[in-house]
């Protein structure tokens, strides 16, 4: 049903804006299972939050009983199961639609036993009766500022690229900040009708250290008096067109130039509205609005700096309706902060600033479930993303077009933490190229993902042959992802920095959205089956080589295995026909040494030294890659006396091997190889989940268990394999131990960019500076 069709349920259709054409099931999603509610009613916008459960399909693998296994049967079975996961929904809409929305919620709320709705915001009082009457829920008010800070902590901790620096004239207006592992302490400056300044020191410790009565209300109130313009947005629009120098007295108006001895430039405002103290002159609305905007922004910026200095804080976040994504105010506040701190403090803004109150109120209500014990992740499929702030767009239009804005967050199965081996977690940036800043690369990758969409849709349908509506769902997926790509083309900043990783993750989220949890399951299954048959043969032939030859063969094997990627059309054909031949064929395709990035000699030298204590291996593809490439390599490490931890994805992404698949594979390999068998038995070979379900790798968001294993085992070598994990991400990651980053470049555009060609090899061996246990030439080599 469309929005307009709600009159039957007693809702007044006439109050609805004509521009709302979104079907409600795309706005208040999963409402039928909604469990907890919170609402934040501000001066003009309402933000609703609810917790819901989502039932969706997951692909499960289960090993067959091998004793009864007959030739030709697959290694394991794949089954689709229904699973329930938790999701947070946040919806933002104009107060004008509040009644309609409440009616809709009432009609669709079926499975809830909730009695209470947490409420915050200035309007909560005004709408209390309406909410209680419509929803039959008791409105339980929460302190606005407390909610704000709770919400702020939550988004800073759980949403990557939540905070950004605004740079009006830069190539990309938004410079997203890395999620700092420790978000405290910080200063939060909320610019509502007045200004409140909070110092936040921990989840529960915060203090209102100061404030000012000159805030958004002053801009609005004084602006309305001066210009007879009623709406806040219109005032901003006026301001963006004005010339403040007609109204303000500048230093040069007083000095005729700059005040050199104090370093005050002539363009500095000496006295706001200093020129308007004259009865015989008219001033334009635009100029007055601009002057007022500068006056208020500068004043707030100055105060913010004084408080930042007093409390010795450099992280200063701004929020409140005065800021709320308005480029004009973000710019003037940024300017002011830069001026007053001489660049020492940066003004930081938040992508989900408008939701802080409702998130906080929700968290207050959910305290018994302790939502902060989980990690949460932004669901790109269900979230609107940051609105365009293009100055060409009329702000009115902007406000309207964003009538319904959504944020969805998934509760992650695992709690995510930093890899303890990151040299400097606070400066770690997973992604190699920021596509929001690199227009050429952005163009290419957006095109690339669009081109690949047909194939993905086909693959998705093929993965569910028993489900007749799969084709229809796949089309919905296509539509959704295409739409996301369109959005990202115009608003590359919608979900933080645009990267190859975010494009891949968005695709995974969209696939999951339409119940295609694992389109590659069948392919992975077949490939694993085939590759396993050649494992013993491969190991045997490696054993016949001399030590030095073998080391090289192992690396080449690993690289050749990595060629097998279903993304790479060039090899997928051979693969299906003859995997053994394919593997050999792939080796031939590989670039000859010296490789594009070639640290093999150093690695070999290192191998001649003492063995590593423990290696952490982030694996990539299933099939030939893992079985014929990774396992022989791992086997050699184990023989050297190095323990190995294999880290694989927690949930499916492309044809990457998942943790559950890898468990079955390891079992099977252990059954035919004594080295692996004893290593498993003696716990020298361990499998862990990465906590990720992405073809890329964010070392700052890894399974907490993995981090624990890394610490316990004293991992001193990290191996990262594949394009997604070692090139698109982590290429520049600096670790505090030795690391190997290996990949074959299977994309000619990227190869070109890196100065190589298709199937160029990257073999990066890095030793942290000042590291001691490196190569010891004099240690006698004892090859087996």
């Amino acid at each position: 049903a469309m929005w307009g069709g709600q009159s039957s349920s007693g809702c007044a259709g006439h109050s609805m804006d004509k521009s709302i054409t979104l079907p409600p099931d795309e706005i208040f999603r999963n409402l039928e299972n909604a469990k907890r509610f919170a609402i934040d009613i501000g001066g003009s916008l309402t933000k609703l939050a609810y917790y819901s459960t989502v039932q969706h399909k997951v692909a499960k693998v289960r090993s067959f009983d091998h004793t009864a296994k007959t030739e030709g049967d697959p290694l394991y079975e794949i089954s689709m199961q229904e699973e329930v996961s938790a999701r947070l929904h946040f919806i933002k809409f104009e107060n004008a639609y509040i009644e309609t929305c409440l009616d809709f919620i009432k009609d669709h709320l079926v499975n809830t036993d909730t009695k209470v709705i947490k409420a915050t915001g200035g309007g909560a009082h005004k709408f209390k009766d309406l909410i209680e009457k419509k929803l039959k829920l008791r409105v339980d008010k929460e302190d606005e500022m407390t909610c704000l800070i709770k919400g702020c902590n939550f988004v800073l901790r759980n949403i990557t690229h939540e905070a950004f620096v605004y740079a009006k004239h830069a190539d990309s207006e938004f410079r997203f900040q890395n999620t700092h592992p420790d978000i405290f302490p910080y200063l939060l400056i909320n610019i509502g009708s007045g200004v409140s300044i909070f110092k936040v020191e921990s989840e529960d410790t915060f203090e209102r250290v100061g404030g000012s009565s000159i805030g958004g209300g002053t801009f609005w109130g004084l602006g309305a008096l001066l210009t007879k313009t009623k709406r806040f947005d219109e005032l901003l629009q006026l301001a963006s067109k004005g010339q403040h120098t007609n109204v303000d007295m500048l230093v040069k108006d007083i000095y005729g130039g700059s005040y050199g001895s104090l370093g005050l430039t002539g363009d500095l405002i000496a006295s706001s509205f200093g020129k308007s103290a004259t009865p015989d002159k008219e001033f334009s609305k635009e100029d007055m609005a601009k002057s007022l905007l500068h006056m208020i922004s500068n004043d707030i910026g100055q105060l913010a700096c004084l408080y930042a200095r007093l409390h010795n804080l450099t992280r200063v976040y701004f929020g409140g309706f005065f800021i709320r994504g308005h480029p004009v105010t973000m710019h003037t506040i940024t300017y002011s902060i830069n001026f007053f701190t001489k660049g020492e403090v940066q003004a930081l803004f938040l992508r989900h600033e408008g939701y802080l109150g409702t998130i906080g109120a929700f968290l207050k209500g959910a305290e018994e479930d302790n939502p902060n014990q989980y990690s949460w992740g932004e669901n790109y499929a269900g979230s609107s993303g940051l609105m365009s702030t293009s100055p060409d767009l009329n702000p009115m239009q902007r406000a309207r077009s964003g009538t319904f804005d959504m944020l969805e967050m998934d509760r992650l199965e695992r709690q995510l933490v930093n890899l303890p081996l990151l040299q400097d977690p606070s400066s770690y940036i997973p992604d190699t190229v920021d596509l929001s800043e690199d227009a050429l690369a952005r163009e290419y990758w957006l095109y690339c993902f669009e081109e690949a969409l047909d194939g993905v849709v086909k693959r998705a349908v093929a993965s569910q042959p028993d489900l007749p509506e799969a084709a229809e769902r796949a089309e919905k997926f296509r539509h959704k992802y295409q739409h996301k790509l369109q959005t990202l083309r115009h608003q590359p900043f919608a979900y933080g920095s645009l990267t190859v990783r975010s494009l891949l993750d968005t695709r995974e989220h969209c696939l999951n959205e339409f119940n295609f949890p694992d389109p590659y399951s069948k392919i992975k299954q077949g490939e694993n089956d085939l590759a396993l048959k050649y494992f013993q043969k491969a190991v045997k032939s490696l054993g016949e080589l001399s030590w030095e030859q073998r080391q090289f063969a192992l690396v080449r094997g690993l690289l050749a295995g990595n060629v097998f990627d279903w993304g790479a059309k060039a090899v997928s054909d051979v693969l299906e026909s003859d995997p053994e031949f394919g593997f050999e064929h792939a080796k031939l395709q590989l670039e000859e040494r010296p490789w594009l990035v070639d640290a093999y000699d150093q690695w070999l030298k290192r191998l001649k030294g003492p063995p590593h204590k423990c290696a952490l291996f982030f694996v990539d593809n299933s099939g030939i890659d893992i079985i014929l490439g990774v396992f022989p390599f791992v086997r050699e490490l184990l023989c050297r006396g190095t323990e190995v931890v294999l880290a694989s994805n927690s949930s499916p992404a492309l044809n990457d091997v998942t943790n559950s698949e890898l468990q079955i594979l390891t079992e099977r390999i252990a059954a035919m190889d004594l080295v692996i068998q004893s290593a498993v038995k003696e716990d020298r070979l361990t499998l862990v989940q990465s906590g990720s379900s992405s073809p890329c790798l964010d070392l700052s968001r890894l399974d907490k268990v993995l981090a624990g294993v890394v610490r316990e085992r004293h991992v001193d070598l990290v191996i990262i394999e594949g394009m997604g994990r070692a090139i698109h991400t982590n290429y520049y990651a600096i670790l505090s131990c030795e690391s190997l980053k290996m990949a074959v470049i299977k994309n000619s555009w990227l190869a070109d960019r890196l100065g190589g060609k298709l199937f160029s090899v990257v073999f990066k061996y890095e030793v942290p500076p000042g590291h001691k246990t490196t190569t010891l030439d004099h240690v006698p080599v004892t090859p087996s």
Binding site: D143, T146, G192, R208, L225, I254, A270, S271, M295, L306
Partner: protein, 449 residues
Amino acid sequence: IVCDVTSQQPGSGSCYANGLQRGFHSQASNGGCNTFNSSGNCSGGTSNVEHFRYLHTDDVEANGSSPAKRCRLRRRVESLKRNRPPFPWFGMDIGGTLVKLVYFEPKDITAEEEQEEVENLKSIRRYLTSNTAYGKTGVRDVHLELKNLTMCGRTGNLHFIRFPTQAMHRFIQMGSDKNFSSLHTTLCATGGGAYKFENDFRTMADLELLKLDELDCLIHGLLYVDSVSFNGHPQCYYFENPSDTQNSVKTPCSLADPFPMLLVNIGSGVSILAVYSKDDYKRVTGTSLGGGTFLGLCCLLTGCETFEEALDMASRGDSSNVDKLVKDIYGGDYERFSLQGSAVASSFGHMMSKEKRDSISKEDLARAMLVTITNNIGSIARMCAVNEKIERVVFVGNFLRINTVSTKLLAYAMDFWSKGQLKALFLEHEGYFGAVGALLELLKSSEEP
């Protein structure tokens, strides 16, 4: 640390410690002018070296300096008399909105001098001293006149005159008409206008300005005016019982031992200085929300034309009709963060509503404007005082002229937000210190060897 005797950098702090050997700028002038200072004055008791300049020569001489030094000093004093600048003595501070002019009227003119005095000098003297208003906009603040003051060996009255900067060209024209340049006086000027109008003075009136830094002048002038006392009364005052603005009482006090002080100069805009000694200070910050903003916005909002008019309206208005208070939002105090219900939550916050905009009076708007600007200055000043660890905050500038609403509010704000830690001080000659500082430079500059 070492003071280079040969260098002629005026007033670097360390030179004072170096005794009297140095050239003119620091020591000689101190001794010199002090010789002719007026009556034994309020700063006489201080041992502060920066106050040195205004002490009696006797004090200096009695200070056990050697006969040779005393002799040298006397010689210099004699030469000073001869090198005294020719009359008229003016000091001028050309600000963004107002020009402040101080004029020294010698009362000890001998018959001989009277005869020698050229006609136009006489006419200037008569014009300035016999009128209290000049043209449509010039005003002499008679109540501020410093009587019987001795400067550079001459005794007379110091007059305080102001007129709008907009009238600057008319003023220069007058200087030209009166053939001011024939007097060969040095016109010492500070404030931005000294730079802006320099060329106009030159081309229109054939006058060369001696341009002086406004903050130097401000501090020197302030310390001087405070040191000579206000016709026998203290220059400085504060408010007793500041927490109750209705009943707080203006109380005279002494600015003895004034350092360190946070000096907040509220003119068109605001400058905030941390002053550690006469010549050791820094500009901490400033804000563009100052007197010019109050007047400019008042003119736009109420149609008023002058500062006096705006203040008059403000005195009759009620800002709570314009501002949104904490209680307007929370129904009372915001206890979670211990904010009083009567605190302003959003200046002009009520004006977001059309109904309230339609029913508001000009007086209320003027009052709200005054309170907004004043509170904001108070808030910034307080933060600076805390950051700079200075407890004494001295507010000056013409924004405070006839403006007890603001002075009381500032006194209240300093006291309340610092829980009694900070003290707000005010000075009777509010906006004239820069001009006085400029005049002091004239008297000093003439002593240059």
